[in-house]
């Protein structure tokens, strides 16, 4: 498997330095740590800290900046960052108004972020957390660890970040984040697996005419494997599962993410959106905003996910508020 890397052990560190050098107006890297913080600091506002395993770029470092995150912690590829790193991110981001952790629902992420939150709380920093679990491919029951957090996390960053930027207090920012989480659902699929640099081979094998439906963002197998069909058919399947949640009713205003997994051309994402938009509109949903592109990727995986967020006035205003980050700019 061909990769544009140097030493496998250095991929995360070299990536972070590269980001900091590309966007010094937005981010700087904390010395000796795998943490990107806002170049201008976060004094006087509630700080948002997120992170997770690397390999999901631009998540999360690409969303550090005005109106979104204050710090992002990068773990090894597809591996949660460690508590000491998260703790340093919390300390660096804290602007005196408290810190909200935005955690994707994975066993490791939750444990590491919670341990870091305990350490920060011991130092007198006010820390709250929200856990994003938007992937409808996974059954939410007492028999699983719960749904995974995937591309819907971007809406949490955007909307809670706007609330913090506007001067919301920690309770308010957390409330808004939880409102997003309650109203956002996603589902993804892959044409092919991804290749983790350290492993050097695809995480699973698919035949030339097979696709994996309900895939996560770590090359973990999906819910079922089936024959490749048209992107319209595939989109219908993903939408059907998301709409079956019963959150979205005719007349609702919604926001959509058609998210690439890293190895899919924008052309194909727009082709998908062409149909997704029509299907949702036919169902009486009003699409207030659509994001199309690579927001929460899975290295070089070919595939995409669909995310729907039901909006109310508050969420829509915050979603439309300005943001200025390496990967998301909105005037």
């Amino acid at each position: 498997m061909k990769k544009l890397i140097n030493e496998v052990d250095n991929v995360v560190s070299e990536m972070l330095d590269g980001m900091a050098k590309a966007c010094p107006q937005y981010v700087r890297r904390l010395e000796g740590l795998d943490v990107l913080v806002r170049a201008g600091g976060s004094a006087g506002k509630v700080a948002l800290v997120s992170g997770g395993g690397s390999g999901h770029e631009p998540a999360h470092g690409g969303f550090v900046g005005k109106g979104m995150l204050d710090a992002a912690v990068a773990g090894a590829v597809f591996t949660s960052p460690t508590p000491d790193q998260v703790y340093e991110a919390i300390k660096a981001a804290d602007g005196g108004k408290g810190v909200l952790l935005v955690i994707k629902n994975y066993t490791g992420d939750v444990m590491n972020f919670e341990m870091a939150a305990d350490m920060a709380a011991d130092e007198g920093i006010e820390v709250e957390q929200v856990i994003v679990a938007d992937d409808v491919a996974v059954e939410d029951s007492t028999f699983t660890t719960g749904r995974r957090g995937i591309a819907g996390t971007i809406f949490v960053h955007k909307i809670a970040g706007a609330c913090a930027e506007a001067g919301g207090d920690l309770a308010d920012v957390k409330r808004v984040a939880e409102k997003v989480i309650a109203n956002v659902r996603s589902m993804g699929m892959a044409l092919d697996a991804c290749t983790v640099p350290a492993a050097g081979r695809p995480s699973f094998d698919l035949a030339d005419d097979e696709v994996e439906i309900g895939i996560g963002i770590h090359g973990e197998p999906g819910v079922n494997r089936e024959k490749l069909s048209s992107v319209n058919d595939i989109s219908d399947k993903l939408l059907e599962k998301i709409l079956a949640e019963g959150i979205y009713a005719p007349g609702d205003r919604i926001a959509v993410i058609v998210n690439g997994m890293g190895g899919t051309p924008l052309m194909e994402l727009y082709i998908a959106n062409n149909h997704i938009h029509d299907v949702l509109t036919e169902k009486g949903l009003v699409i207030a905003k659509t994001l199309t592109g690579n927001f929460m990727t899975s290295l070089d995986m070919e595939g995409f996910s669909i995310t729907l967020l039901k909006l109310d006035e508050e969420l829509e205003a915050l979603l439309n508020a300005p943001a200025d980050t390496p990967a998301f700019v909105q005037a």
Partner: protein, 207 residues
């Protein structure tokens, strides 16, 4: 001259590092193919960072736990980190151990993992190796057996526990996403727990 507790930790580290690919392959079946890679990275750091000449067993275990916590990542980092740190808490200041001390350390480690992982036995996790091992060890201890007999019983029970994980579906961790598809595969975390216990047993046998 390295202390005995360092030598024991080094034995565990060698076992984990030697089984890096085996553990990763198990994880590829039902997880995200990084358990061996992450654990090996952590124990490599342990070999480099844990001082060889500190006689305080609790202090060495605490340093081991802290090192794992800051280098392993994923779920295994907090879980194994907690296990070593909790075992270190109950052995702090000790330079030798009785069989009762060892039981208390294992007990503390198990309780720490249960609390950190919010898990119980039967969820296809490392607890399915550790809890039977603790029970078997305790039973032999109460029956007045020798230390090696206790450790052998603990390892045998842990091995049975690993076999048992093949028969059940995961309800914790990433393997739980697979539902019934996780049945038939042994749990990587239970396997690394078994390897740890066997390394401790082998160290005590040779010491």
């Amino acid at each position: 001259m390295a202390t005995l507790v360092y030598d024991c930790i080094a034995g565990i580290a060698k076992t984990i590092i030697d089984n890096r690919d085996f553990l990763t392959d198990l994880d590829r079946e039902i997880g995200d193919a990084d358990h061996g890679v992450n654990m090996a990275r952590g124990f490599q750091a342990v070999l480099e960072k844990v001082p060889q000449d500190v006689p305080d067993i609790g202090a060495v275990l605490k340093k081991t736990g802290m090192t794992l916590l800051s280098t392993v990542g994923g779920a295994s980092g907090p879980l194994y980190g907690t296990a070593y740190m909790e075992a270190g808490k109950v052995s702090m200041g000790k330079e030798t151990l009785t069989p009762e001390d060892l039981r208390d350390m294992l007990d503390a480690a198990v309780k720490g993992v249960e609390k950190r992982g919010k898990a119980v036995q039967g969820e296809k996790t490392m607890l399915d190796a550790l809890i039977p091992a603790l029970e078997a060890y305790t039973a032999k201890l109460e029956a007045g057996a020798s230390l090696l007999e206790m450790l052998d019983a603990a390892c045998a029970a842990a091995r049975d526990g690993v076999e048992y994980t093949k028969t059940i579906r995961a309800t914790k961790g990433r393997a739980s996403y697979l539902g019934d598809r996780s049945i038939g595969h042994q749990d990587p975390g239970a396997t690394s727990a078994l390897l740890t216990l066997e390394a401790i047993r082998d160290y005590c046998r040779e010491a």
